[in-house]
């Protein structure tokens, strides 16, 4: 209100005498710019060889076995989806960098991981334009709307997948047999996933198929063993907190085991729960995302246990056969709260 008053009042004020010449644009004072910028950080001042790109490229290396098996099982479908997803993630990252006027962040590999992880969670028959949309959504909304790498509260790849699941519910749950599967008679015949088979028809699948991955499912989630190899590599290199996959798997096993003991006919066995669906991929590669999981050891246990609990509840009582995505996203939302309540004591601190 006062602003309008001012702007109206202004013309009536005695005008200051006009300057004879236009004021020249003053050259901006040159600021001192050191060659290497001074970096300030809080203690502890550990020196480590780990940098963001180094960690990210290790994660990519750990994803190689699952990717290779996806290519073997689903062949050209996998090639198309993985290439589309990764390239659109990279292009989106580049465009966002350009708009935000920051240095290019493609070499740190994080956009590549987002694209690859998203591709591995998509069904092989999914359309390529849908894949590109999910990938762009993951990078632009999932990562950069929150401030870029390190500031995102949700795992970008899972957010992209959640967007696709809400946008295209039917294609996102239409599955095909792998081309190498022995059941296959016609190329690309649709098939329910083992979890879907159990949920809607009450049929359990053989464990051997679940471990090697010769079953229907998303591109990279079918083979438990390929994912575990990459995941254990990450745990050994300490680029992922071992507590998270362990507590996630344990909690899934225990909660689903409790239901199985109560009524073995109506609930699947905990072993089947462990090896089916996207649990392995989620537990090793998505729940352990450094940005979106708790930083404390106790927090990591809580995070994994909560995710496992939510997962079993969704799988057994929800409308969808699979719930890894939602269980991790929900626990992502709880992460700041978990961090806050598992803050370690200061030395000598007495808790009231």
């Amino acid at each position: 209100m006062t602003e309008e008053n001012l702007s109206q009042a202004l013309p009536e004020q005695p005008e200051t005498p006009k300057k004879p010449v236009k004021p020249k644009k003053e050259p901006r004072a040159k600021l001192y710019k050191p060659e290497t910028p001074l970096i300030l950080a809080s203690s502890p001042h550990f020196h480590t060889r780990d940098t963001v790109p180094r960690i990210m490229w290790n994660v990519i290396a750990a994803l190689v076995p699952a990717t290779v098996l996806a290519l073997v099982y689903f062949q050209w479908a996998a090639v198309g989806i993985i290439l589309t997803s990764v390239s659109s993630a990279l292009i989106a990252e580049m465009l966002v960098n350009r708009v935000k006027g920051e240095s290019f962040t493609i070499p740190d590999g994080s956009a590549l991981i987002t694209g690859l992880l998203l591709a591995l969670t998509l069904p092989p028959s999914f359309s390529l334009d849908g894949t590109a949309l999910g990938s762009v959504f993951a990078i632009v909304v999932g990562k950069h709307f929150f401030g870029g790498l390190g500031y995102n509260i949700f795992n970008p790849a899972l957010l992209g997948r959640a967007f696709l699941q809400a946008s295209f519910p039917v294609p996102m749950t239409t599955w095909t047999w792998p081309l190498t599967a022995r059941y296959v008679e016609v190329d690309g015949v649709t098939a329910a996933t083992p979890l879907g088979l159990f949920k809607f028809e009450g049929v359990t699948s053989e464990l051997s198929g679940l471990i090697t991955g010769n079953i229907s499912g998303s591109l990279g989630e079918t083979s438990a063993i390929a994912i575990a190899i990459g995941g254990i590599y990450l745990l050994i290199r300490k680029y992922a907190d071992w507590r998270i996959p362990l507590s996630f798997l344990m909690s899934t096993f225990l909660v689903s085991g409790a239901f199985w003991l109560i009524s073995p006919e109506s609930y699947p066995s905990p072993v089947f729960q462990l090896f089916s669906g996207g649990l392995m991929l989620g537990a090793f590669f998505m729940a352990t995302d450094m940005v979106t999981c708790p930083v404390t050891a106790r927090g990591a246990w809580i995070f994994g246990a909560g995710a496992g609990f939510i997962l079993v509840i969704i799988r057994l009582f929800g409308g969808l056969p699979e719930g890894v995505m939602y269980s991790i996203l929900l626990m992502n939302a709880f992460t700041p709260l978990i961090n806050r309540y598992t803050r370690p004591k200061f030395f000598g601190e007495v808790r009231a």
């Binding site: 309008e4 359309s127 909304v141 967007f163 809400a166 946008s167 295209f168």
Partner: protein, 209 residues
């Protein structure tokens, strides 16, 4: 304290600078809930504007007769009367729109935008000024609802105002006509508006020109 703005600014302010949705974040419930199609957004906006205008007229006329202690109850009775009129009118003449808006037409009565304008403006200003203010606010509200509705309808159903504009090649993004699509679109629109209004950018523009 009555307003001292020029009549033109009184009218203009609601459209952009003090836009009820974009600047004050008022009336978010109908904004998010009914904008899954441009038609619904437009109908909701018109109904709200009608209620806003008529109740402003009544309240600014009666402002010296309503006792201060019971003014909120008084305002609500007046607003509820006009909401009932709007609700019955839509149900009688546009039954399909009335059905698709469902409970959100009766819920106009609790729209903060309306009670807010009465409490903050109409109860302190004359009839003419109050009508101008309400008209500006109403147009601002319609503008946001229609823009939101158009964006969500194009992406979520491939049409505008019910006419298909995108061909069969386009697979509608179902999420856009669901609640998450409303939150996403509104958030992005408000971010763009804030970026546009950003004082530091305004300074840059002035420095350039």
């Amino acid at each position: 304290m009555s307003s001292t703005l020029s009549l033109k600014t009184e009218f203009i302010k609601g459209i952009w600078k003090e836009n009820p949705v974009m600047a004050s974040l008022l009336g978010l419930c109908p904004t998010l809930a009914v904008t899954n199609a441009a038609n619904n957004g437009l109908a909701m906006g018109l109904a709200t504007t009608f209620v806003l205008l008529s109740s402003s007229l009544m309240i600014s006329a009666l402002r010296n007769l309503i006792p201060h202690q019971v003014r909120i109850a008084g305002y609500i009775v007046i607003i509820a009367t006009f909401v009932t009129v709007a609700d019955r009118f839509l149900a009688a003449y546009f039954p399909s729109i009335s059905a698709s808006l469902g409970p959100y037409i009766p819920l106009i009565v609790v729209n903060c935008l309306i009670l807010g304008r009465q409490e903050a403006f109409s109860s302190r200003n004359g009839i003419g000024r109050s009508l101008l203010d309400s008209l500006g606010m109403g147009i601002g509200f319609i503008f946001v609802l229609v823009v939101l509705g158009i964006i969500r309808e194009i992406l979520g159903s491939g049409s505008i105002f019910g006419f298909a504009i995108l061909g069969d090649w386009f697979t509608p993004w179902m999420v856009m006509i669901l609640p998450p699509g409303a939150f996403l679109t509104l958030g992005i629109l408000i971010a763009l508006a804030n970026w546009y209004n950003d004082p530091s950018r305004a300074k840059e523009r002035r420095a350039v020109s």
